[in-house]
């Protein structure tokens, strides 16, 4: 599913260069549930953003389904993100001006689909995360856990093969965190969705099939 070959990422500002990732080699099989761990600032988010095509690597090669995306232009990258990948962020990243339903529909807006079909799929996704009763609410009328469930509904509405979750439980208490983890586990088991999740929580990480540990931009296990 994912193959990273010798990935470096250097952030260069006018004054300093920060090496966020050094010579990362990584392979994730289809259907795997992998967690990424490491201290703050070690490059976990950077890694996830590169896998998710939200950012480009300084050196190295990213392969999605065996296809190197290095030479892909904006339109092709957008299409890949739209078809294959769903994101869940620590800070939810919902659009506050849109209702829950409209938020969940976003990935489908960039596909050929009728409005009725979009709505049907969005409602189905919301049902999966147990939020069907809140479709007309706005994000700021929901609790943190509910917001993250909306974000998961948005990530799965397009039935992507890969879900990238950056500390999805980071802003939640342990009960709500466990709920979110349950949803992800179910997705992985029932729909064979590949999941890469960044987390600080050893307990959650242990529930996944494999843990990738980063330290100071390098892979340590």
């Amino acid at each position: 599913m994912i193959q990273l070959n010798n990935i470096d990422k250097v952030y260069a500002t006018n004054t300093i260069e920060t090496t966020a990732l050094k010579a990362i080699n990584l392979h994730v099989e289809k259907g795997e549930f992998v967690s990424v761990m490491g201290p703050s600032g070690c490059g976990k988010s950077t890694l996830l953003n590169i896998i998710g095509l939200l950012d480009s690597a300084t050196n190295g090669e990213v392969l999605i389904d065996g296809q190197s995306v290095q030479k892909y232009g904006d339109i092709k990258l957008a299409k890949l993100r739209n078809q294959k990948i769903g994101f869940v962020f620590q800070s939810f990243h919902l659009i506050n001006d849109l209702s829950v339903l409209d938020n969940v529909e976003i990935p489908l807006l960039y596909r050929r689909m009728s409005g009725a079909e979009r709505k049907r799929k969005a409602l189905a996704a919301l049902e999966k995360v147990g939020l069907k009763a809140r479709t007309k609410h706005f994000p700021n009328q929901l609790s943190g856990g509910q917001r993250q469930r909306v974000a998961i509904a948005r990530a799965i509405v397009g039935e992507p093969e890969l879900i990238l979750a950056d500390e999805p439980t980071g802003n939640l208490d342990s009960v709500m965190g466990a709920e979110i983890m349950d949803i992800l586990m179910r997705l992985n088991k029932e729909e064979n969705t590949t999941i890469v999740m960044v987390t600080h929580d050893e307990h959650l990480a242990k529930q996944t099939q494999r843990i990738i540990r980063l330290f100071d931009g390098s892979q340590v296990g």
């Binding site: 939200l54 339109i75 990243h93 659009i95 001006d97 409005g115 397009g158």
Partner: protein, 410 residues
């Protein structure tokens, strides 16, 4: 696809109520200023009642005469115009008139203040007045110093109510004039045609026969076609070279037969032609700049409106919106916004012009929003919409999704 964009845009605009309001306000206000200014300029400098032949008219309004001791600039004597302008061979007609003068008159014991203008018969040929009653006075009336007059509708209603005015008398400037015609009102910004009462120029108390260079008269030249302008100008310059000064007060004269734009610029900026041209261009530039200020402000509002949505852009990109799609959406959003704002602007302009037309701020004003201005308005609106939509959208589209997302959380 377009339908989806439009639906999306309307949703977004309704959600961002404050920004939508500010933008709409900016757009409609900008447009209102632009439209009112154009209507004003159009009304003043474009062809309109009764100066419909403006495009083939030249004016001698602003002459400079110099002598050893004095020099003066502005309108000039009837004697000069009669001898050196009326004698031009190329034009179809030349008219000499006075500037309008306010005089006090009495009628039925009531006091009226009216604008009186002395004209020749050609004036009625060059101008395109609409006669409600009667007709213009003739060359014979002028030659024979007949005490006849033409009045406008407002004056007619004040003096005679609903009755016909033809054959009745009006007293003005200590003379009694018989009304031979009634014309529709002329707004004051049509300054060369404006008046309440027009009488044959020979009725003036001034001596217009003897030699003199000083006076308050002006000439309007009607060319057969616009193509004759250079020939007429050249002929007039030739006449200027032949001017005979009969006393020592003045010994040189400068000026020209100008189009309305040229004469406006000459009045503002003086005689030196190259300098006048330069200043004229600077003046126009300043005016455009003045009109562009609200437009730039509008662009600014729009850019901010889009920049405020960094995080939204990051999110949409993360879930599969390409830069082109986003740019498309912002353009549609802006076009919709500008069209709505444009429509509101048109309505406000209409109200403002109506207020001008019906109030007494400008006597007999008749500003119209013609279809030409309407067309300009739509074009200008769209231009602003695109200008303020494309640029920020293009800038934004160059961001990586992760940059936009981070910008949004900062």
């Amino acid at each position: 696809m377009l339908k989806k964009y439009i639906k999306l845009s309307l949703k977004v605009l309704l959600r961002h109520k404050f920004f939508t309001f500010v933008s709409l306000f900016g757009i409609s206000f900008t447009l209102m200023i632009l439209l009112t200014t154009t209507a004003f300029l159009d009304h003043m400098l474009g062809p309109a009642y009764p100066e419909t032949k403006l495009d083939r008219s030249l004016y001698v309004l602003d002459m400079e005469i110099k002598g050893p001791e004095i020099s003066r600039r502005g309108s000039i004597s009837y004697y000069f115009l009669n001898k050196y302008v009326k004698s031009l061979k190329t034009p179809e007609a030349v008219s000499i008139t006075s500037f309008f003068q306010k005089t006090v008159t009495y009628h039925d014991g009531k006091k009226y203040k009216i604008a009186m203008k002395f004209t020749d018969a050609e004036f009625w040929q060059i101008m395109d007045f609409n006669f409600v009653e009667g007709q213009a006075f003739t060359k014979e009336d002028v030659t024979n110093i007949n005490q006849v007059c033409i009045i406008n509708q407002a004056t007619k209603e004040k003096y005679f109510g609903n009755e016909s005015a033809i054959g009745k008398y009006i007293e003005a400037d200590w003379k009694k004039y018989k009304v031979v015609g009634v014309v529709e009102n002329v707004p004051i910004i049509r300054i060369l045609a404006y008046g309440d009462v027009w009488v044959p120029i020979t009725n003036t108390k001034e001596d217009i026969v003897s030699y003199s260079m000083d006076g308050d008269y002006q000439a309007i030249i009607l060319a057969k076609t616009k193509k004759d302008f250079p020939a007429i100008k050249a002929e007039f310059q030739k006449h200027l070279d032949q001017v005979e000064f009969q006393d020592d007060t003045y010994d040189s004269i400068r000026g020209g037969a100008d189009t309305i734009l040229e004469s406006t610029s000459r009045e503002m900026f003086g005689f030196d032609d190259s300098k006048a041209h330069l200043l004229f261009i600077i003046g126009i530039g300043l005016m455009i700049l003045f009109m562009m200020l609200p437009a730039m402000n509008l662009v600014n509002i729009n850019i901010n409106r889009i920049i405020e949505r960094y995080s939204e852009i990051g999110i949409r990109k993360s879930f599969g919106a390409s830069s082109i799609t986003l740019v498309g959406q912002f353009i549609v959003e802006n076009i919709i916004l500008t069209l709505i704002g444009g429509f509101i602007g048109l309505i406000i302009t209409f109200i403002v012009l109506t207020i001008f037309n019906t109030s007494d701020i400008i006597p007999y004003a008749n500003f119209v929003m013609n279809f030409r201005i309407f067309g300009y308005a739509i074009l200008i609106t769209l231009l602003f919409g695109l200008l303020s939509g494309v640029y920020p959208a293009w800038r934004m589209s160059r961001l990586k999704p992760v940059q936009a997302l981070q910008g949004g959380t900062k």
